[in-house]
């Protein structure tokens, strides 16, 4: 959706990467990729560590020289410009605040380098924005992690960059503070209207904050889109597993009817809309998110509406986590399937060992090419 922006559109803070790639000797950190980040958007590069997301960000900042391709910021080719000549600023992982300068001077650093007037006024109002006014004369090490993080944001934002780059800015904070800062950053972004490019390995963080997410894997962009779009229509097993959790069921296409594909999964007949299948192959994975599945006790099979996908199985495990209960069900085909049920009308018969029927709306299924690894993106980094 963001790839085909017309050239004439306000190129103010657009970041346009064309064929940009990076190799270190034999190792390819980033495969040549094209990416356009539209002006004013909150864009997330999401991926596990080592997927090339930070390298991509550093190439935009100018801290890493691309092996191929060009970087355009607001229509200007900056590929060969050093970082200090680029209209971008970076919030570094673990902040990189200057330890010998106080908070005021840290924030004033960029203004002073460019010989700006009324530094005092600007710094003071910027410190107000991040609510650190009274800490102006403290040294960075006297501040808490969350406060240092805000200084790092203020130090970058005060320069009014066309693009703000954030390299895992919340990685060092504890969970509660991270949630708080996510909202804070989102608020600041809406307030200043600057393009944010945010690198993270935390899929929840990316989904909470970003308008557009590029999911990266092994130096490539796997898929690009709005958070809900990526979640509902993953295009690869990596995205399906990395963004949330997915059940992938191996199946074979047997025919089609009324825009639906008819499938057979070890003899069980299933269906999904043709439009939601990302491949033309006959061997596919049918994917369904755990929260889309409803559980019914085997004796209640008759109550299930017609036209829903069904699988028979046995409950292997259940864990109660408050808002929902998470079940693991072993299907007749021997596959373990995760199911999240809201705790509304719990059927007490559904307990480990109970025979159950899993059923869901075929429209909630998605289809992926079975030539891919079924467990891509399930590593611990995805947690």
């Amino acid at each position: 959706m963001t790839e085909q922006q017309p050239e004439a559109a306000t190129a103010g803070g657009d970041v346009r990467l064309t064929g940009i790639g990076k190799t270190y000797g034999d190792f390819t950190a980033v495969q040549p990729l094209d990416l356009t980040v539209p002006q004013g958007s909150f864009f997330a590069l999401l991926g596990a560590s080592g997927c090339g997301k930070t390298t991509t960000l550093r190439m935009i900042a100018g801290l890493e020289e691309p092996t191929s391709g060009t970087v355009l910021i607001g229509g200007q080719d900056v590929t060969d410009l050093p970082p200090y000549k680029r209209p971008v600023n970076t919030v570094f992982q673990s902040y990189a605040l200057f330890p010998h300068l106080d908070i005021f001077e840290n924030v004033a650093f960029g203004l002073r380098r460019r010989g700006k007037k009324d530094v005092k006024k600007q710094v003071e109002s910027m410190l107000e924005l991040v609510e650190l006014g009274q800490y102006a004369r403290r040294k960075p090490h006297q501040l808490s992690g969350g406060q240092q993080q805000r200084v790092a944001v203020a130090r970058a934002l005060i320069n009014h960059p066309q693009v703000l780059l954030l390299d895992e800015p919340l990685g060092a904070l504890d969970l509660k503070l991270r949630r708080q800062m996510q909202l804070e950053l989102k608020r600041i972004q809406t307030e200043v209207g600057i393009t944010f490019v945010h690198v993270t390995h935390d899929q929840e963080e990316a989904m909470t904050m970003a308008d557009t997410i590029a999911v990266m894997n092994a130096g490539r962009v796997e898929q690009l889109g709005a958070p809900a779009d990526l979640y509902e229509n993953p295009g690869s097993t990596f995205v399906a597993n990395f963004l949330g959790q997915s059940n992938l069921i191996a199946a074979e296409v047997t025919g089609s009817a009324d825009g639906d594909l008819l499938l057979s999964a070890s003899g069980v007949r299933l269906a999904m809309p043709k439009a939601r299948c990302a491949t033309d192959a006959t061997k596919v994975y049918l994917g369904v998110r755990p929260e889309k599945i409803t559980l019914a006790h085997a004796s209640a099979t008759g109550d299930i509406a017609e036209g829903r996908n069904r699988l028979q199985g046995t409950v292997v495990d259940s864990s109660f986590i408050g808002v929902s209960t998470q079940y693991v069900v072993r299907s007749e085909g021997g596959q373990e399937i995760a199911v999240f049920e809201q705790n509304m009308d719990r059927d007490i018969r559904i307990a480990p060992g109970a025979p159950v029927v899993l059923h869901w709306n075929p429209a909630h299924s998605f289809g992926l090419d079975a030539a891919q690894a079924i467990d891509a993106g399930t590593g611990e980094a995805a947690a």
Partner: protein, 308 residues
């Protein structure tokens, strides 16, 4: 009433208290060897020297404590040029050490890869494997009249220049201020490089990237980030170079002539040749006081208290 309580005090409490007290004392016991060392080798000699400096007499008639403070004034007047030379040679050597040491330490810390880093560090420390005396004697050969340095300087007509400014004289290097400064610089260079390296090596390279990102050019990054953060290393290095260099006498003795003598040579002469112990002791105290004063002013100026 009172007698009964005193006769049968609760047994447990004093035992507990005693144990607690003993545990508290452990820390002090551990300090004992260090304190003993300081008392025997620092405090007692200092007091002894202090009293010596205020004595009068001679070796034959014996020395007597007469609180003769005039010795200090006489020593200062007699050796004022020695002091001037000591501090100016040491200052020049310190500046040279900084000029040579900083780029080297910077290279080791930021530019060299792990293997080269170790190689260069070993090379920096390598001179310590031979004695101070032998290293200085080697410089005597290097700077000798027929040696390569004099030849090269002559060839470049630089000796005429250094003769003119008084660094050398008579177209020779040995037995001139230049030779003494060279010796001091060489001998104390590692004491400059090592603290500089330690302070530079600790700097997070991301700070350079952050400064670069915030519109600082490479030289500005050095001026505004790298150098200020390495200041504690600069202070430590200059102190470790300047203090021993200003008290040194070997370099002046071996590489200089009588007109390059430093305070150390004066103390040595008064103590070993003239056997005027009070004058030697007074000179030592004056040297110590002057260094202490200079260091205090320097540390204040450098403003490093909050950086360390």
């Amino acid at each position: 009433m009172t007698t009964t309580t005193e006769a049968a005090p609760p047994q447990v409490v004093p035992l507990e208290a005693a144990r607690k007290k003993r545990r508290k004392l452990t820390a002090y016991w551990l300090l004992l060897p260090g304190i003993a060392w300081l008392v025997v080798f620092f405090a007692i000699p200092m007091v002894y020297q202090g009293s010596t400096s205020l004595q009068t007499g001679s070796l034959e008639q014996g020395f007597k404590l007469t609180w003769h403070f005039a010795t200090y004034w006489d020593a200062l007047v007699e050796y004022k040029w020695h002091f001037v030379r000591s501090f100016s040679y040491a200052a020049i050597a310190t500046v040279l050490c900084l000029a040579i040491g900083y780029p080297l330490a910077y290279t080791i810390a930021f530019k060299a890869n792990q293997r080269w880093r170790n190689v260069i560090l070993i090379l920096v420390i390598a001179p310590f494997f031979t004695s101070f005396l032998i290293r200085t004697l080697a410089w005597k050969t290097i700077l000798s009249d027929g040696g390569p340095v004099v030849g090269a300087l002559n060839h470049l007509h630089l000796l005429a220049l250094s003769d003119a400014v008084g660094l050398t004289s008579g177209h020779r290097v040995l037995a001139t201020p230049l030779a003494v400064v060279c010796g001091l610089t060489y001998n104390f260079l590692p004491f400059m490089i090592l603290p500089l390296y330690t302070s530079l090596e600790r700097i997070d390279p991301r700070l350079h990237e952050a400064a670069n990102d915030l519109y600082a050019r490479p030289f500005t990054i050095f001026r505004k980030v790298t150098f200020p953060i390495s200041l504690p290393g600069v202070v430590a290095g200059t102190l470790l170079t300047f203090i021993p260099a200003s008290g040194d006498y070997i370099n002046a003795q071996l590489l200089g002539s009588p007109s390059e003598q430093m305070v150390g040579n004066g103390i040595q002469k008064q103590f070993l040749n003239v056997l005027a112990y009070p004058t030697a002791a007074a000179l030592s105290f004056i040297l110590m006081a002057l260094i202490l004063g200079m260091v205090t002013v320097y540390m204040r100026k450098a403003g490093t208290e909050e950086l360390v």
